[in-house]
C-alpha cells in the first residue's frame, strides 16, 4: 500500500474510533439513567468518569515504547470486545448483581481507559508520516466529526432501530473491523501478526453472535413489542416480569400487561389506598394481597399510627426486585425496608385459609381477571375468606379494572362483594396510562367518618374525593351475575369487554 493510502486509512480509523468511542459513552450513560433513574445525574457522572478514564488511558500510553502498531491493534480488539458487549452485559447482569453501580463504573472505567489509549497511540504512529500541525489538525478534525456523527446517529437511528444492546454490538464490530483492516494493511510491520489476527477474528465472531442473538439476551422482540427499551425481563415460574424505560418513564409489565407507569402510578396508588385508610383512624394492621411492587405499601406507610403491614405476593422474584433495585426502591420509597412491613411469598387464597390474624384494612391489588386462575381471586369464595381476616370495623379495597371499558366486569365485582354481605362503595379515578380506573371499598359496616388524608399526596385532596364516587351514565351500574368459582362470570365478562375494546 502507498504511504498516502496508509495515511488515509489511519485517518479513517480515527473517524471510526471517535464515533465508536462516543457511542459507548452514550450507551453507558443511557443505561445508567434507565437502570438507576435520574438521567441528569447518571449522564454527567458517566461522562465524567469516562473522560477521566480517557485521561488515564492517555497517560498510560507513555509506557508503550515498542511495537506501537501491535499494541494499537490489540487495543482496538479489546475496545471492540468490552465496548461492544457492555450494553448486553449490563442488562444481563442488572438483576443479578448486588451493586450495579460498581459494575457499571468498572466497565465505564475500562472502556474509557482503552479509548483514551487510542488517539495518543495513533498520533505517535502517524507522527513520522505527517507534519506536526497537519497531524494535530487532521486527527482532531476527524475525531470531532466522528463525535458529531455519533451524537446524531445514536438518538435518531440506533436506539429506535436497534436498541441499546444491538447498537453496542454493531459498533463493537466496526471497532474490531478497524483493527483488522489496519492489521491487513500493515501486515509486514506488525510482529506476531498471525496471533493478532486470531484475536481479532475471535472478537468479531463473538460480537456478531451477540448481534444476532441479542434478541435472546435482552428480548429484542419484546423491545419491539413494547416500543420501549426493555431494561429487565425475566420469566419466573409465575409470570413474565418486564421493566421498560422510555425517556423519563419506567413501566412494569406482567405477562405483557401494563401494571404501572412511573409517570402516573401515584394516581392509581393514592386512589387505591387513601379513600379507605384515610377514614380508618383506628387502623393498626394492614394486609396487602398482591402488589409486589410495594407501591401500595408506600402509600400505606404514610400513616404513622399503623403498626404493621403484611404483604402477601405470590412471586418472590417480584418482591426481591422491588426491594433491591435502586430505580425501583426509589419509586416505592424503599417500602420493603420498613421494619413495619412483612413480606410473605405465598398464594393469597391459600395463605388466607391458614391465616388467623385480623386486619383493619385489606388491599387486594391483583392483576385484572383475564384468566380463570386469576379470576378465582375475585370470587365470593375468595371474598368470604378475606372477610374472615377483616375486623368488624375495618374495610377492604379491591382494584377492579376499568368501569369505562369493562362496566359489566366492574359491577360484577361489586355484585359479588355484596353477595358476601359486604357494604360496597365503588369509585374511580383517572390514571392517564390506564384510562378511567375503578376501585371498590367493601366493609362489614358502612364507612362513615371524615377523611384524614396524610400530607404529601399529589392527586387526592379532601375537596375532590366526593367526585370519585360519581358515576356518569357511560359507567353506570349494570345488572350482572355474582362471580363464583363455579361460574367464573367475571372472566367471561372481562374477556368479552376488553376484546371489544381492543379490536375497535
Amino acid at each position: 500500500m502507498t504511504e498516502r493510502g496508509l495515511r488515509l486509512l489511519l485517518l479513517a480509523s480515527v473517524f471510526t474510533i471517535a464515533t465508536c468511542g462516543l457511542i459507548y459513552e452514550l450507551i453507558a450513560g443511557t443505561i445508567a439513567s434507565y437502570l438507576l433513574g435520574d438521567s441528569v445525574l447518571q449522564f454527567s457522572t458517566v461522562i465524567g468518569v469516562y473522560l477521566f478514564a480517557m485521561g488515564i488511558g492517555s497517560w498510560l500510553s507513555r509506557y508503550v515504547e515498542k511495537n506501537l502498531l501491535g499494541v494499537f491493534i490489540q487495543v482496538e480488539f479489546l475496545i471492540a470486545l468490552f465496548g461492544g458487549s457492555a450494553a448486553a452485559v449490563l442488562f444481563g447482569l442488572f438483576a443479578h448483581v448486588s451493586s450495579f453501580r460498581v459494575l457499571l463504573y468498572a466497565i465505564v472505567l475500562l472502556i474509557g481507559t482503552l479509548v483514551g489509549l487510542e488517539i495518543p497511540l495513533l498520533l505517535r504512529i502517524l507522527k513520522d508520516r505527517l507534519q506536526f500541525k497537519d497531524l494535530i489538525s487532521k486527527v482532531f478534525t476527524f475525531d470531532y466529526i466522528g463525535a458529531l456523527l455519533a451524537s446524531l446517529l445514536f438518538p435518531l437511528v440506533l436506539v429506535p432501530h436497534f436498541g441499546l444492546a444491538r447498537s453496542g454490538f454493531l459498533f463493537g464490530i466496526l471497532n474490531g473491523g478497524v483493527g483488522l483492516v489496519a492489521l491487513w494493511a500493515l501486515w509486514d510491520q506488525v510482529p506476531r501478526a498471525r496471533l493478532l489476527r486470531i484475536n481479532g477474528v475471535a472478537v468479531l465472531a463473538l460480537l456478531a453472535c451477540g448481534f444476532v442473538f441479542s434478541e435472546r439476551i435482552v428480548s429484542w422482540s419484546e423491545a419491539a413489542a413494547f416500543g420501549e427499551d426493555v431494561i429487565f425481563s425475566k420469566s419466573t415460574p409465575y409470570q413474565r416480569i418486564t421493566l421498560t424505560r422510555h425517556a423519563d418513564d419506567l413501566r412494569l409489565y406482567l405477562n405483557g400487561n401494563l401494571q404501572f407507569s412511573a409517570r402516573d402510578e401515584y394516581r392509581y396508588h393514592e386512589a387505591l389506598v387513601h379513600p379507605g385508610l384515610a377514614r380508618l383512624p383506628h387502623a393498626r394492621r394492614v394486609l396487602v394481597l398482591g402488589g409486589g411492587d410495594g407501591l401500595a405499601v408506600r402509600e400505606i406507610l404514610r400513616y404513622p399510627h399503623l403498626e404493621s403491614v403484611t404483604l402477601v405476593d405470590l412471586d418472590p422474584a417480584m418482591t426481591r426486585l422491588f426491594s433491591t433495585q435502586e430505580v425501583l426502591t426509589r419509586l416505592n420509597h424503599s417500602a420493603f425496608a420498613s421494619s413495619k412491613v412483612h413480606v410473605v411469598n405465598a398464594d393469597a387464597f391459600t395463605w388466607l385459609k391458614d391465616n388467623r390474624e385480623m386486619f383493619d384494612f385489606i388491599v387486594a391489588d391483583f392483576p385484572d381477571p383475564s384468566n380463570f386462575s386469576i379470576g378465582k381471586l375475585y370470587t365470593t369464595a375468595f371474598y368470604q375468606r378475606a372477610r374472615t381476616a377483616l375486623a368488624q370495623e375495618g374495610a377492604m379495597v379491591i382494584q377492579c379494572t376499568s368501569p369505562f371499558v369493562a362496566p359489566k366486569s366492574f359491577w360484577c365485582i361489586d355484585e359479588t362483594l355484596r353477595a358476601c354481605g359486604l357494604v360496597t362503595e365503588p369509585y374511580h379515578a383517572y390514571v392517564p396510562s390506564f384510562g378511567e380506573w375503578g376501585f371498590i371499598l367493601a366493609s362489614p359496616r358502612a364507612l362513615g367518618g371524615p377523611w384524614r388524608l396524610p400530607p404529601g399526596l399529589r392527586f387526592l385532596e379532601e375537596k375532590n374525593v366526593a367526585s370519585l364516587r360519581e358515576f356518569p351514565p357511560d359507567m353506570a351500574r349494570v345488572p350482572t351475575e355474582v362471580n363464583r368459582l363455579n361460574n367464573q362470570a367475571l372472566v367471561r365478562y372481562f374477556e368479552a369487554e376488553w376484546a371489544r375494546y381492543t379490536h375497535q
Partner: protein
C-alpha cells in the same frame, strides 16, 4: 425429582435393547406400575384356599366391605348409637371404587370422582352433605347453599372435536341444522321425562332409583337398548348419538348398544338437584374425587375400620353370623362372631362367600382402566382452555380429568391427569382377560397414544404413570336388569345378613351406594333388636 434416575436408566436400557434388536425407535418408558385392587387376595377367595380361623373375636355387627355402601352403614350405626361394630375391608384403605392416591403433586382419584347435586328425595345424601359442610343451610327457597370450593370450578368440561377444543360436551362445531333440531328435540324429551310423574304419582326417574315410578309404560323402556330407543325415536344425528353413547359409557362403563333405554334416559332425566349458588347441572368434586368423601366417612370410625382383611366365609348360625376373614398383615384367619352383618361387598363376591345364598344369574360388570398421569406441565391446546373434564370425540377412552383443577393456587406448574377408559370393546370377560395380560409398558403405549392425539409431544412431560385395573368396576344396567327378576332377587336379607351395594340398584353412583348402606344399617338394627 426422584424418578429421573430411574427414568434415565429405563430409557438407556430401552435404547440398548433397541440397538440390539436392529435399531427400532426405542419406545419411551415411564416410571409407575399397575396397581390394585388386591387381585391375589381376590383369586384366593375364589379358590377358597384360606386357612381355617385360629382366633375368635366378637362384635355386635360386622360390615363386609368398606366401599361407600359399607362406610355409609358404619356411619349410620355410629349415628344410631350402635357403636359396637367392625368393618372389614380387603384393601388396605377403605373407599372401594371411590379409592384415591396421592403424590408430591396432587391427590387424585382411582375411580369415582364427583357427585352431582343430590335430588331432594336423596334425603340421606343431603343430610350427609350438611354434616360434612358440603352444604351450609338453605336459602329462602329451600335450595341448599353449597360450599363454593367443593363445587366444580369453572370451566367444567371441554370437548376436542374437529381439530379444536370447545366448551361443553355436546359437539357444536360443524353441526348441521338437522343435528341442531335433533339436539333440541332430544333435550326437550328428556326435560319432559324429568318432569313426568307416573300413574303412581312418583317421579318417572328418581335417585335413589327405587323411588322411581313403577308405571308400566315407563318400565317398558327397560326392555330395549338405549341405541334401539334412539333409533325408534328418530334420533339419528351422529353427534347426538356420540354424545349419548359417551354419557352411557361414562356412567355405566358401557355404550348405548349395551345398556337399557331406561338406564340411558335415567342419566338425562333423573337429576333435579338444586343449589342456592350454582346451576342445576353443577357437581361437587375434590382433587382426590370421592376419596374425599370416603376419608371423611372413615376418619371418625377409627379402629373400627380394618383394612387388609379378606372375608371368605359368612355362615348363619343360632347365635348370629360367623364371619371368617384372612388378616393379610398377620397372615392368619380370624373368626368374627356378630349378631348381624351388613354385606357391602359386590354381589358377585357375596354369593361366593355367603353360605347357602342362591346365586343370581345375568349380573354383568363393566371392566375399567384408570390411569393417573403425573405431568410437568399443564396441557393446553387450541380453542377452549383446560377444563376439569376433557373429552376427545372419537377416542376409545373417556378423556381425562385434571386432579389439580379444584386447587386454588393460581399457577400450578405440575398436574396429575386421571385418564378414564371403560373397557367395552368386547364382552366383559374377554376384556378382563386381555387387560390382565397387558404389561405396564403396554398400557403406557395405549394411554400415551390416546393423550398424544390431542397433546402431541406430551410424553416428554410425563413424570409418572400409574395404572389401576377394575375388573368389575360397575354393574351394567343391561336391558331387563333394573326392573327384572335378577335385581329383585338381590334385595332381601339372608337371615341376619343384610345386603348393601350399588350393584343392587343396577346403576353405580354415590347416591345409590350411600343410601343403600344407610338403609341397610337401619334394617339390620330392626332385624336384630
Amino acid at each position: 425429582m426422584k424418578s429421573t434416575r430411574r427414568e434415565f436408566l429405563a430409557t438407556a436400557g430401552a435404547g440398548a435393547a433397541a440397538m440390539l434388536t436392529g435399531c427400532k425407535k426405542p419406545r419411551p418408558r415411564f416410571s409407575g406400575s399397575i396397581l390394585g385392587p388386591a387381585l391375589a387376595a381376590g383369586h384366593r377367595m375364589r379358590d377358597g384356599s384360606f386357612p381355617p380361623p385360629t382366633e375368635t373375636i366378637e362384635a355386635g355387627v360386622a360390615i363386609v366391605g368398606g366401599g361407600i355402601a359399607g362406610l355409609a352403614a358404619a356411619h349410620q350405626l355410629d349415628k344410631k348409637g350402635a357403636r359396637d361394630f367392625l368393618l372389614l375391608e380387603l384393601e388396605r384403605d377403605p373407599g372401594g371404587n371411590a379409592a384415591c392416591g396421592r403424590n408430591a403433586v396432587s391427590a387424585y382419584p382411582w375411580g369415582a370422582h364427583y357427585v352431582p347435586l343430590p335430588n331432594d328425595e336423596a334425603t340421606e345424601v343431603l343430610a350427609l352433605f350438611e354434616e360434612l359442610g358440603i352444604t351450609r343451610g338453605r336459602d329462602a327457597n329451600g335450595a341448599p347453599i353449597y360450599h363454593e370450593e367443593y363445587l366444580c370450578a369453572d370451566p367444567m368440561e371441554r370437548l376436542f372435536d374437529a381439530g379444536r377444543w370447545q366448551e361443553g360436551l355436546l359437539p357444536q362445531l360443524g353441526i348441521g341444522p338437522d343435528d341442531r333440531r335433533q339436539y333440541e328435540r332430544f333435550f326437550a324429551e328428556m326435560e319432559t321425562f324429568r318432569q313426568t310423574l307416573g300413574a303412581d304419582g312418583r317421579h318417572a326417574f328418581a335417585i335413589p332409583l327405587d323411588e322411581s315410578s313403577r308405571d308400566e309404560a315407563l318400565l317398558a323402556l327397560d326392555q330395549a337398548t338405549m341405541a334401539a330407543w334412539m333409533t325408534k325415536r328418530g334420533f339419528t344425528s351422529k353427534p347426538l348419538r356420540w354424545h349419548v353413547d359417551y354419557c352411557c359409557r361414562d356412567d355405566y362403563g358401557a355404550g348405548m348398544e349395551n345398556i337399557s333405554a331406561w338406564a340411558g334416559v335415567h342419566y338425562f332425566a333423573a337429576r333435579r338437584g338444586r343449589a342456592a349458588n350454582a346451576d342445576h347441572d353443577a357437581v361437587v368434586t375434590w382433587p382426590e374425587g370421592n376419596g374425599w368423601l370416603a376419608r371423611r366417612l372413615a376418619e371418625p370410625l377409627g379402629q373400627r375400620v380394618r383394612g387388609g382383611c379378606v372375608v371368605f366365609n359368612l355362615e348363619q348360625n343360632n347365635s348370629g353370623v360367623a364371619v371368617d376373614f384372612f388378616d393379610l398383615a398377620r397372615q392368619r384367619s380370624v373368626r368374627l362372631r356378630a349378631r348381624g352383618v351388613v354385606c357391602a361387598a359386590p354381589r358377585f363376591v357375596a354369593q361366593r362367600i355367603v353360605r347357602g345364598l342362591a346365586p343370581v344369574t345375568g349380573l354383568e360388570y363393566s371392566p375399567w382402566m384408570v390411569a393417573n398421569v403425573t405431568l410437568a406441565l399443564l396441557p393446553a391446546g387450541r380453542g377452549a382452555p383446560l377444563a376439569w373434564d376433557n373429552v376427545v370425540r372419537g377416542s376409545a377412552s373417556l378423556g381425562y380429568v385434571v386432579a389439580t383443577h379444584q386447587n386454588l393456587h393460581p399457577v400450578p406448574h405440575e398436574t396429575v391427569l386421571t385418564h378414564y377408559w371403560p373397557l367395552d370393546a368386547s364382552a366383559p370377560p374377554e376384556e378382563r382377560q386381555r387387560a390382565l395380560t397387558r404389561t405396564h409398558a403396554d398400557w403406557c403405549d395405549l394411554i400415551v397414544a390416546d393423550l398424544a392425539r390431542v397433546h402431541p409431544g406430551i410424553d416428554a412431560h410425563i413424570r409418572n404413570l400409574d395404572v389401576w385395573l377394575w375388573g368389575h368396576g360397575m354393574v351394567r344396567p343391561v336391558p331387563g336388569f333394573i326392573w327384572g327378576e335378577t335385581r329383585q332377587r338381590m334385595q332381601p336379607p339372608h337371615g341376619a345378613i343384610v345386603f348393601a351395594h350399588s350393584d343392587m340398584s343396577g346403576i353405580s353412583i354415590f347416591e345409590e351406594a350411600f343410601t343403600r348402606g344407610t338403609r341397610a344399617a337401619d334394617s339390620l338394627l330392626a332385624l336384630i333388636s
